[in-house]
C-alpha cells in the first residue's frame, strides 16, 4: 500500500515537471491522473488497489464513532436506571487476528462497544478476556458484533 501511494506521488511530480507549473492545483490534477494509471495497472501489483484499503479504513473509523455513541447511551441507561439489576462477568473470546496492531485495534473497539471492556489478552494472543456488564443478554449479540468488527479489521489488513 505504501509503495502504491509513493508511486502515485512520483507520478504527480512527473506531471508537474511535464507541465512546468509547480502549484498545488497541478499536483492534485497529476495525483488524479496517477490514480487512474494505478487503477488501470492494478493487476501488476502484489497487493490490492490502495483506494480499497483507504475505504476500509474510513469504514472502520465510522464504526468506531458509531459504537462510541451507542456505548455512551448504554452507559447512561445503566447509570440512570433506578434499579441496579446487572449481572457482570468475565468471558473468554477466541480471536483469529494475529498481528499485534490488529489485536490492539480490536481490543480498543471492544472497549468502546456497549457493555464490554477488555481485561486481559492471553499470552498466545488467541483469546481476549472481556468483562461484560450484562452477561446473559449480551453474550450472543456481542459475539455477532465482534464478528463484524473482526471482519472490518481483516478487510483493512488483508
Amino acid at each position: 500500500m505504501a509503495f502504491q501511494i509513493l508511486l502515485n506521488f512520483v507520478l504527480a511530480f512527473v506531471w508537474m515537471f511535464l507541465k512546468t507549473s509547480y502549484t498545488p492545483a497541478t499536483f492534485i490534477v497529476g495525483y488524479f491522473f496517477g490514480l487512474l494509471i494505478l487503477f488501470f495497472f492494478r493487476g501488476f501489483f502484489q497487493t490490492r488497489f490502495y483506494l480499497k484499503r483507504v475505504y476500509a479504513i474510513i469504514r472502520l473509523v465510522l464504526i468506531f464513532i458509531r459504537e462510541l455513541i451507542l456505548s455512551n447511551l448504554a452507559v447512561l441507561r445503566l447509570v440512570l436506571k433506578p434499579k441496579l439489576d446487572i449481572r457482570p462477568g468475565i468471558f473468554a473470546l477466541p480471536i483469529e487476528l494475529e498481528r499485534d496492531w490488529e489485536i490492539l485495534l480490536l481490543s480498543n473497539l471492544i472497549t468502546l462497544t456497549p457493555g464490554t471492556l477488555v481485561v486481559d489478552v492471553s499470552p498466545d494472543n488467541k483469546t481476549l478476556y472481556v468483562h461484560a456488564v450484562d452477561i446473559d443478554d449480551l453474550n450472543d449479540a456481542v459475539s455477532s458484533i465482534k464478528n463484524s468488527f473482526e471482519k472490518a479489521i481483516m478487510e483493512v489488513s488483508r
Binding site: P88, G89, F91, V118
Partner: protein
C-alpha cells in the same frame, strides 16, 4: 446564522458536560471496580471529546480561528482512553481485586488455573 452556530456549540458543550456528569454518577453508584471502569472509560471519553469539539466550533465560528490543537487533543483522547481503561482493569485483576459478588462468570480465573496446572505437570 449566529443563532444556529450558538445552538450547535451549546449542544456539543452541554451534552459533553452531561455525559461527564453521568459518568461521575456511574463511578459513585456501580458496585465494583470493573463496572466503574465501564462508566469512567466510555462516558468521559465521549464527554471530553464533545466539549473539545464544542470549543473548537466556538473559536471557528465566532473568532474565525481554526485551532488544530483541539483536533489533535480529540484524536489523542480517542486513542488513549480505551487503553488506559484496559490497563486499569488489568492491573486491578492482576493485583487480586475481587469481582462483585453477584458476578456470574470468571473465565479468566478458570483459564489461568488451567494454565498453571499444565505448567506444573
Amino acid at each position: 446564522m449566529t443563532a444556529i452556530y450558538e445552538i450547535i456549540v451549546m449542544l456539543f458543550i452541554l451534552s459533553g458536560t452531561f455525559l461527564t456528569l453521568a459518568a461521575t454518577f456511574g463511578v459513585i453508584r456501580l458496585p465494583d471496580i470493573y463496572t466503574r471502569n465501564h462508566a469512567a472509560s466510555k462516558a468521559t471519553t465521549l464527554g471530553a471529546m464533545l466539549i473539545l469539539l464544542g470549543a473548537m466550533f466556538y473559536f471557528l465560528f465566532f473568532e474565525d480561528h481554526f485551532n488544530s490543537r483541539l483536533v489533535l487533543a480529540i484524536l489523542f483522547i480517542f486513542m488513549t482512553a480505551p487503553v488506559s481503561g484496559h490497563l486499569i482493569g488489568r492491573a486491578a485483576y492482576n493485583s487480586g481485586v475481587k469481582l462483585w459478588n453477584k458476578s456470574v462468570a470468571d473465565e479468566l480465573a478458570r483459564d489461568r488455573k488451567k494454565m498453571k496446572q499444565g505448567k506444573s505437570i
